[in-house]
């Protein structure tokens, strides 16, 4: 019996039949009822958005399609990644080789560390039911935190944020209806459904599950798009403009340390990329960016070395991620701070 015949006979094994049966069940299950497609589309879109954050590795390569001629994988000793004492590989993902067990990330506190691949890819798991799809999508939009460790995979040094305010999931149905979902800073999920004729439904789901719905005609929706967000009048209550207690305390402390406790401050929660590169042995070829929610704080004052400074603050640890200063005038019109300015040291 030659090798070709042996391989042909493999198709007749019980193993081949059982595994085939499992794939048949999977493919049958993949035929979702129409009413479920909307949520799956959203979940998949969210998955794509998250995948964009995490980075992916191209799978395709120039290999001989004949399995018999394929090169063997590298031996353990030749792994492109270093290995820690637990036997887990770690480092920034490299193209065309396997992914490391611990993948290099930038924690929200700015420290370079590693997340377990299994925890990062958890967000790619396909939902089993429409309810799971909805819950998974909402959790991603609200953001989730993954522990960041030293290369030993044990010592935690921070957290990595996946998703969160600023990320959107967009799905499109066959009839042209577009559904966009995002979370605001309070964790409300806002679902905007725009029909092909422009009619728009805005559904807001609070953390406690309360849902409020607003329906707009195409004309109303178009007006809303072109109407700028109303700004509070000078005489109105400043209550909505007050920074959170911790942020105010942190800004006061930063101003004091910088040399002017009564500096003026502006601040804004932004979703942005920061800290561009991982330094060290495994520096990737391209700059590595971390996207996350950060508080941008800009202060004007009589500081040592300049008239203004900025800080990026981690909203969870309240630590300073990065900072800068200049004695040149800073054009704040380039950044649209919806809050402030306030003068620190004043009682609000």
């Amino acid at each position: 019996m030659d090798a070709e015949e042996r391989e042909r006979k493999l198709a007749e094994t019980r193993f081949a039949a059982e595994l085939r049966g499992q794939f048949e069940v999977l493919t049958e299950r993949a035929r979702h009822p129409r009413r479920h497609r909307r949520w799956l589309a959203i979940a998949v879109a969210a998955g794509v958005a998250v995948a964009g954050l995490l980075g992916t590795v191209a799978l395709a390569g120039g290999f001989d399609p004949d399995p018999a001629h394929l090169p063997d994988p590298p031996l353990p000793a030749e792994s492109v990644y270093p290995m820690n004492a637990s036997g887990d590989t770690f480092g920034p993902n490299k193209p065309l080789v396997e992914e490391p067990d611990l993948m290099a990330v930038m924690a929200t506190n700015g420290k370079v560390g590693y997340c377990y691949r299994t925890e990062l890819v958890g967000s790619h798991q396909p939902p089993g039911t429409p309810e799971e799809a909805v819950a998974g999508n909402e959790a991603t939009l609200r953001g989730r935190m993954i522990p960041v460790y030293e290369s030993d995979g044990v010592t935690q040094i921070g957290v990595f944020q996946v998703g969160g305010p600023g990320s959107k999931s967009i799905g499109k149905q066959a009839d042209g209806t577009t559904i966009t979902q995002e979370a605001d800073v309070d964790g409300n999920i806002i679902t905007t459904t725009v029909a092909p004729d422009g009619a728009t439904t805005i559904e807001t789901k609070a953390l406690d599950g309360t849902v409020t719905t607003k329906t707009l005609t195409a004309a109303e929706a178009a007006r809303l798009k072109t109407t700028p967000t109303p700004k509070p009048s000078p005489g109105a209550s400043r209550e909505p403009d007050k920074p959170r207690a911790w942020l105010l305390a942190r800004m006061s402390s930063l101003a004091r340390d910088a040399g002017d406790a009564r500096a003026t401050a502006r601040w804004e929660l932004q979703f942005r990329e920061y800290l561009k590169r991982i330094e060290g042995e495994n520096t990737p070829a391209s700059p590595y960016a971390q996207s996350a929610s950060v508080w941008l704080v800009i202060m004007h004052g009589d500081f040592a070395g300049g008239s203004w400074r900025y800080w990026l603050l981690d909203p969870h640890s309240h630590e300073v991620i990065s900072q800068g200063q200049s004695d040149q005038p800073f054009d704040t019109s380039r950044i649209p701070p919806p809050q402030g300015p306030i003068t620190l040291g004043e009682k609000l």
Binding site: L10, T13, R14, T56, L59, L75, L96
Partner: protein, 187 residues
């Protein structure tokens, strides 16, 4: 001859995104080759079956990422996944099951008949001859350390006592012997 049979692997894989049933047709075409690929490299029928199932599960789960780049690109894509799975297995001597668990698939235990059929793909006689030749070309001290450690399964402390040297020396001999053996078999 049906529509499925007329399609290229690349077309089947690309179409399986929207029409998952196409993946079953691709499965029929690729399973024997994958099993053979893994069996010849792991020399273990059950491991080969597990690796083939895990590779196909991951391929199914990520089939939406496949892009048809012409003849052979489906096999290149599939065997890139296979290569990664094999690489991880060789480092840990444990087959991953993450993709199967994610899809809710069960591990299939091979029966004696299946093991026999899969093992028939492995040319044991040829491999055994190569191992014997490579083993014979090792330095005597490395060969002895390897025999005691790998074949007899003795601890480093025991081997050190038998050979009258330190454990570190035994470790170095075993490590160098394995590397040399691997290099000779690779060559």
């Amino acid at each position: 001859m049906g529509e499925v049979e007329l399609q290229r692997d690349e077309e089947l894989l690309a179409a399986s995104g929207d029409r998952p049933q196409r993946f079953v047709a691709l499965y029929d075409r690729t399973l024997p080759g994958l099993l053979a690929y893994f069996a010849r490299r792991t020399l273990d029928a059950q491991v080969a079956a597990d690796l083939a199932a895990e590779t196909l599960a991951e391929a199914y789960a990520s089939r939406g990422r496949f892009r048809d780049r012409g003849e052979g690109s489906a096999a290149a894509w599939l065997y890139t996944i296979a290569r990664r799975k094999l690489g991880r297995y060789l480092r840990r001597l444990r087959v991953e099951d993450a993709a199967r668990r994610r899809l809710g698939m069960e591990r299939i235990e091979l029966g004696p008949e299946d093991i026999e059929r899969i093992e028939a793909l492995i040319d044991f006689e040829h491999i055994g001859r190569e191992v014997r030749d490579a083993f014979g070309e090792l330095r005597a001290d490395q060969r002895e350390a390897l025999r005691l450690r790998v074949i007899d399964g003795r601890s480093y402390r025991e081997i050190a006592a038998v050979l009258g040297c330190s454990e570190d020396v035994v470790r170095a001999r075993v490590s160098r012997g394995l590397k040399r053996l691997a290099a000779q078999l690779e060559g």
